[in-house]
Amino acid sequence: MDSIKGLIDLAASPPVAFTLSIVVFFTLFRSRWPWTRGGGLTMLGVGVAGLVFGLSDDELRRRVAEPDNLPIVGLVFVVGFFVWLAMSKAWANDEATERGDPTLEESERDDRVLTWPDLVFVELIAAILLTVALVVWSLLVPAPLEGPANPALAPNPSKAPWYFVGLQELLVYFDPWLAGVVIPGLIVFGLLAIPYMDRNPRGNGYYTFRERRPEILLFLFGFLVLWCQLIVVGTFVRGPNWSFYGPFESWEPARVAGTATISLSEALWVRLLGVGLPGSWLLRELPGLLVVGLWFVGLPVLALRSPWLREQRERLGRVRFHTVVFLVAVMGLLPLKMYARWLFHLQDIVHLPELLLSL
């Protein structure tokens, strides 16, 4: 038992868990089986077994049962279910199209029903069921209330509300101006821009995967791997000093805050070349600025060697294409900085305290 828990604690550490999640993500979305009934039930079984096993541990049960953490457990299962539902419907439609049959939505396209009673009563029943569910939840779980506010006594860890915990987790890897302002701003901008960037006319008004593979994979990678996963990480495996604690590890004694980190300029000038930091900040940070420039400019140039991407640029036009590329590069910055941190303890690619700017 303890060895299993030890193994899970190991697998839950951010580098391992993140790598695993990427592998699992692409494995799942490459295959058909997970989106069949058998696949869905198997994944549900694994999830429930994991939950039951987790709840058998006192430490983890306390953490999971915290009233404000319950929605996140719910989130995992509910999001899992709806991803499965959408994907299985998409596959079913794709297979119908392949056979030359109409999709489910297509076969009903001219079928209209009266709002009263067909819609109104469904709404009524849904409202009643939701009310019952909410009342039961409220009767079973009291809303949390801690001691009165005390501005002089910061709890450790202090956590943001759960839906922002993913952004708080990003603070481990990014400066606050990025994690707290620019990245959320770009998420909202990216969401707003989706209808204008995606010019694929297919897949409008029905579930399909085959006709929209890249769009769906990109969106789901962001939603599942980067957004939902970081919320779960921030909630369940971050303890005092925002250090990592395995799901079965006690928060006591508290670990000291992270390992020492190093900036790219220091690693290069001091450690590698042994010449000390140059006096001019421009020269000092030149390598970092080059890396960032390469990431945002060089990568697209390199990518355009692929015929498929060149075709996309023709199709979308330059403005749309480069907006998409920029947003993907920002998204890619997340794993990039995470791995740089885990592998080389590298914190800042560009470190410019002179301008309060680090990246």
Binding site: P71, V113, V120, A126, V182, L191, F223
Partner: protein, 261 residues
Amino acid sequence: MSWIDRLRRRVTRSQPWRAIFRVGVPTDDRKRALAVLGNVVLHLHPIKVKRSGIRLSYTWCMGGTAFFLFLVLTVTGILLMFYYRPTVEHAYADIVDLREVAAFGVLRELHRWGAHAMVIAVWLHMFRVFMTGSYKPPREFNWNVGVVLLVLTLLLSFTGYLLPWDQLAIWAVTVGSNMASATPFLGHEGPGSELLSLGGTPLIHVGSDARFALIGGRTIAGGTLNRFYVLHCLAIPFIAAWLIAVHFWRVRKDGGISGPM
């Protein structure tokens, strides 16, 4: 005729009853159409809808769930406002009283769990709309309205988080609002903020930056509580309600729930 039937006829034929319910129980298609047309709430709907559009497995009823939760939160929120005073002196004690003294001791629970559920429902609704490609023309603008609603939903939840004025509340909001001080140019710890100065006097400092504007002071205190209370109970719900109306209007003007073109 039993007395129940007589009574029912009496009631349903009385002048007040017929003044309210013009068509009575709709039993044929004409009356069903009139029932929807003649009712301000039902009139949000068209008279006929696509069968595939109202399939539970198509929309998951997630937009509807988000809206329903918004209504639940409005009602429970108004009831909470009867008890709650947004001052450092009273806020916490009022929340304790809500649990211990007030009738219907689950008001706070309904409001808090409803809020969590609404956040999840809105995410899932967005995910459904994405997966059915319903943001594609002609629904681009309604997707944009939706994204703003998503942001407003999160802000509603965030501003409400402070109101119990317990340790959980102020420290969660501290973590969240500290980010604002790192806003480029407009936060006092943000890159470029030092560039904004007038004759050597910095324009952006702790007492004038984005964080100050958000929390109404240099630290989370009574001013913040008041500010968040007004945002939470008045300003944001008002904008959200307006945008939900626009959202629904556009669903219809864009041709109803999406389906194959």
